[in-house]
């Protein structure tokens, strides 16, 4: 038996080594880099500067805008995707004819790259065309907006495109969650004289809580990492007055265009810490729960 286990472990080894180096080794390396003065292609003498890069980062107006943008994005994108996803899943779960057809349409954006989505939405949200034309034609002129070209809107426009792309994900999660609820519970609720709203409020809703939690974690970590969509819609500059800028984009420009490696490393470590706060408790919780089952 022990011999078997050793062979089994050897099979796992190549992947463990790759992940140990490419994930954990590289993170450590990035962390170390973020504490140095390597903020140029040719630094005569590399030395540790402590938390200098982080201090400069948090004092940087652009980074402050980025953090605020991430927050605004999350506050629109996460609830938006949850509500739309739950709504769609409830509709699909009524037993309508053509469920498969509608489901295929609703989840289709999930198969597209953010860049493709970006091309479509960049033109839909073009101030002189797209949605604004449509709103005019429908007599909904008050909905017209400068979208990503208007500094007051900026990241909110990006969040709208993100909801379009990823609400299908929450819809799939909720649909799977709804299907897992035993029919008997609804029958019991009906016997007890519950109205449809009460059945939803006291049976469906509580039983979907774990699904909502999963969705919030996954959507939350996407909000922190969002990059492609911003580049594709607002461009590498992050829109007027950085109104669509996000930390991942700031990191990219700082590192690969300005060659300020240590500063870029500091941004990515901040991102990593934020993602870890969200993901580690969740991973721990879901693996624990699995063992308990």
């Amino acid at each position: 038996m022990r011999r078997y286990r050793r062979t089994a472990f050897l099979l796992l080894l190549p992947s463990l080594v790759l992940v140990a180096v490419f994930v954990y080794g590289f993170i450590f390396w990035t962390g170390e880099l973020s504490l140095t003065n390597q903020n140029d292609l040719f630094v005569p003498q590399v030395r540790f500067v402590g938390l200098e890069n982080y201090q400069r980062l948090f004092a940087h107006p652009r980074f402050q805008i980025d953090l605020r943008n991430t927050l605004v994005f999350s506050l629109i994108f996460i609830p938006g995707s949850l509500i739309l996803g739950l709504f769609g899943a409830l509709l699909l779960n009524t037993g309508v004819r053509g469920e498969g057809f509608f489901r295929t349409i609703f989840l289709m954006p999930m198969a597209l790259s953010f860049i493709v989505t970006g091309v479509a939405w960049r033109w839909l949200m073009n101030p002189t065309s797209g949605l604004n034309l449509l709103f005019d034609a429908l007599g909904l002129g008050f909905l017209k907006s400068g979208w990503y070209t208007d500094p007051a809107v900026g990241i909110k426009a990006i969040a709208l495109a993100a909801i379009w792309q990823l609400s299908g994900y929450t819809m799939a999660l909720y649909l799977a969650g709804l299907r897992a609820i035993p029919r008997e519970l609804y029958e019991a609720a009906e016997v007890d004289g519950a109205t449809p709203w009460q059945a939803f409020r006291y049976v469906t809703f509580p039983l979907l809580t774990p699904v909502t939690l999963s969705a919030v974690i996954v959507l939350g970590h996407i909000s922190l990492k969002i990059f492609d969509l911003v580049v594709a819609i607002a461009g590498i500059s992050g829109g007027p007055a950085f109104s669509s800028d996000v930390p991942a984009l700031f990191m990219f420009v700082t590192t690969f265009q300005a060659n300020r490696f240590a500063q870029g490393a500091a941004i990515s470590i901040v991102l990593l810490v934020l993602v870890s706060f969200l993901v580690i408790p969740y991973l721990y919780w879901s693996l624990r729960q699995e063992v308990a089952e």
């Binding site: 078997y4 089994a8 099979l11 796992l12 190549p14 992947s15 463990l16 790759l18 992940v19 490419f22 994930v23 590289f26 993170i27 880099l33 769609g88 009524t94 309508v96 295929t104 349409i105 609703f106 989840l107 289709m108 954006p109 999930m110 198969a111 597209l112 790259s113 860049i115 493709v116 989505t117 091309v119 479509a120 960049r122 033109w123 839909l124 073009n126 002189t128 065309s129 034309l133 299908g168 799939a172 799977a176 009906e190 999963s214 974690i217 996954v218 492609d228 580049v231 990219f252 590192t255 690969f256 490696f261 870029g264 941004i267 990515s268 991102l271 580690i280 991973l283 693996l287 699995e290």
Partner: protein, 282 residues
């Protein structure tokens, strides 16, 4: 619960409204990409084409050397050359890992699994700088092989997760029976697990295919020359260029979306399973 006609009317109305919301961007891409260039105007974005034309697609694919615009055709093939080996190797590794973690649990295997899974959620920005340095040392920076290696490595967590959850459903007694017949760890994998792997493999292949085809971040950081860039990077350059008409950009977007869209429409069920696997609990 009694359901009235009104109930169903409202359900269908809401479903149709949602369908319109999800289809609008695709509709806009399609009708404008199919327009003859004389019909293209920002004011007429919503008007259906009077004459169907594939000229925008041809221009997006072949480019226009006269104005120095390179087409997406080459980049499409770069993406193919990237996605095929990268998907193959990451799925192979995921299958082996999933097998070990599901069928041969040992002390600390749960911890290792946790450490592997975390790699799925990290912001890749936190590994990009060392990655570029190491790829440069290996002579793989700016090459498709370098991108393949990158996608294989960072694909390990999700493929391992998909296969582990899938193999966990296979009763361990099957493997134990094969062991009594003299099969070792590899023998059990080959003769018991592998023949049962098809559904899990389809899920993993579709998932990795979609993720790798759609990736932008690794592509834009690792490939600097247009001749080796995957299609997402090239499409973004095309869309950001002022010399390229916007209907050509839209045709390019459709070209870039076609492979994953085709896979999704043909095998959506498996795609959704991969989607659900990504939320960890299988």
């Amino acid at each position: 619960m009694r359901r009235t006609l009104l109930f169903w009317a409202l359900v269908y109305a809401a479903l149709l409204l949602l369908a319109v919301f999800y289809l609008i961007p695709i509709y806009v891409l399609l009708i404008n990409a199919l327009k003859d260039y004389r019909e293209v105007s920002v004011e007429a974005m919503w008007r259906l084409p009077e004459h169907l034309s594939l000229a925008s697609f041809a221009k997006a694919w072949y480019g226009d050397p006269g104005v120095g615009m390179s087409g997406l055709g080459q980049n499409f093939w770069n993406s193919v050359k990237l996605v095929v080996p990268a998907t193959f190797f990451s799925v192979l590794l995921g299958s082996i890992n999933g097998y070990v973690l599901a069928q041969w649990r040992f002390r600390g295997s749960e911890t290792l699994f946790f450490l592997l899974l975390f790699g799925m959620f990290i912001p890749y920005q936190s590994v990009l700088i060392p990655l570029v340095k190491v790829l440069m040392k290996l002579g793989l920076y700016g090459t498709i092989s370098g991108l393949v290696l990158t996608h294989v490595v960072y694909g390990i967590p999700i493929t391992t997760l998909i296969f582990r959850n899938y193999y966990a459903q296979i009763p361990r007694e099957l493997g134990e029976a094969a062991q009594i017949d003299g099969a070792g760890v590899l023998g059990v994998y080959r003769h018991v697990i592998l023949p049962l792997s098809a559904p899990g493999t389809v899920v993993a292949v579709i998932w990795q295919f979609t993720q790798i085809w759609n990736d932008f971040l690794f592509g834009v950081v690792i490939t600097n020359k247009p001749s080796v860039q995957p299609i997402t990077v090239a499409l973004n350059n095309l869309a950001g260029s002022y010399i390229v008409e916007w209907n050509v950009q839209m045709a390019g977007a459709i070209l870039a979306a076609l492979p994953t869209l085709a896979v999704y429409i043909l095998m959506g069920r498996y795609f959704i399973r991969g989607l659900l696997a990504g939320s960890v609990k299988g």
